[in-house]
């Protein structure tokens, strides 16, 4: 197990005050919060930060952690000392770190994972019912266009009778509803936590996001594609092949089309009672003037066309 330098994670000195630690946490939390951040590994960084803060903001945990010194050199194997944790009391963990599954092995070896099953107050709706779980998954565009089954693997914390936490994989095969949109939520009844003792398990709520598609982008129920066309195809009109999620189709480009022209294929977006549309946005691609023949063609065009592309700029 690797030693974690929580001071380094939070970018504070080992003698930082409580106020400095809180300030550093707030600043980094705003930077890495998964709902706000666009950093690629925001989720992981935010978890690490939450863990560091959970230790450093608690005087007991921080004192216990400081006992370890600055730890072995980075990457070196770490074992808690045999007398670890004696003489310290650990209170209930506050918010900030998410669920127990968010903790690293390092954290759990020091502080265990013991934590009540309830995260927030306000329970007591059904005492014999397990907690609802929340998760987020990434879907491919095909899943919403065609519907179908997808398999997800979620990590779930398990608390045993002695309060030890381990992480189990929860593999789910899910019937994806056709027409589901990014940001929407699905519920899987009975796939949440088992209650302690008798009762029914909670539900699992999954919020879906979509992997960016190499060709299409989603806006509401509509799909957009940028389609390159040659200057003469745009000027004279043409029938060209365009990809669509249901396979290539022939698309008629009207004469006089220009860069940014939007062509609509009705009802070929994300399916629904009134399905979205498929929009093709034209881009003009210039053929390279790489050889004598091509250069001659450009010169001929320059001579034949009295064209000033900057006329609207007054020059």
């Amino acid at each position: 197990m690797e030693f974690k330098d929580y001071y380094k994670v939070m970018g504070v000195a080992r003698d930082a005050t409580e106020a400095q630690i809180k300030q550093a946490y707030r600043k980094l939390a705003r930077k890495y919060h998964p709902d706000v951040s666009k950093e690629k590994n925001a989720e992981a960084l935010f978890k690490e930060l939450g863990e560091a803060y959970e230790v450093l903001k608690s005087p007991e945990k921080r004192a216990a952690y400081d006992q370890l010194g600055s730890g072995p050199r980075p990457g070196e194997q770490f074992r808690p000392p045999p007398d670890w944790g004696s003489g310290f009391e650990f209170g209930g963990a506050g918010p900030g770190g998410g669920s127990a599954a968010d903790h690293s092995d390092f954290f759990e070896s020091l502080f265990g994972g013991a934590r009540g099953p309830s995260r927030r107050g306000g329970r007591g709706f059904d005492p014999g019912r397990g907690e609802d779980h929340h998760a987020k998954v990434m879907l491919d565009l095909d899943a919403t266009l065609q519907g179908g089954t997808r398999s997800f693997t979620l990590r779930v914390p398990q608390i045993d009778a002695e309060g030890r936490v381990s992480t189990q994989e929860h593999v789910l095969n899910v019937q994806v509803p056709k027409g589901i949109l990014p940001g929407q939520t699905i519920r899987l009844a009975g796939q949440g936590a088992r209650p302690i003792g008798e009762g029914t398990p909670g539900d699992l709520y999954i919020e879906v996001e979509f992997q960016p598609h190499p060709l299409y982008r989603i806006e509401g129920r509509d799909l957009y594609l940028n389609l390159p066309v040659a200057p003469w195809e745009a000027a004279l009109g043409a029938t060209v092949k365009t990809p669509t999620p249901n396979g290539p189709v022939d698309l008629k480009i009207p004469a006089g089309a220009h860069a940014g022209s939007k062509l609509r294929l009705k009802g070929r977006g994300i399916p629904a009672a009134s399905s979205g549309d498929f929009y093709v946005v034209l881009e003009i691609a210039l053929p390279p003037a790489a050889d004598e023949k091509a250069q001659a063609a450009y010169r001929a065009m320059a001579q034949a066309l009295p064209f000033n592309p900057r006329a609207s700029l007054g020059v």
Binding site: T185, E207, R217
Partner: protein
Amino acid sequence: MPNHEALRVELFDDRTELTLHDLCRVFAVEERHIVEMVEEGVLSVIEIDTTEWRFSGAALRRARIALRLERDLGINLPGVALALELLEELEQLRRTRQG
């Protein structure tokens, strides 16, 4: 334990109607908390002809983000409402820039 059969799911979309009680249960929060979110404009209520509040499926995502921002960043509800508005605007801008 792996499930080999595909699980049927319930989709929450813009046709879904959730009650105040539903939202409280999903997020394990007290009614007062959701009511405050409505008052601050974090969540909006569907206008229908009934005395009971109804929320669309989109409320689930907004409520989840709001609760997390409150908890993780210590922002109060007016701040959360502002953050959500700005996030939406940012998303819109990013999308149009892509195109």
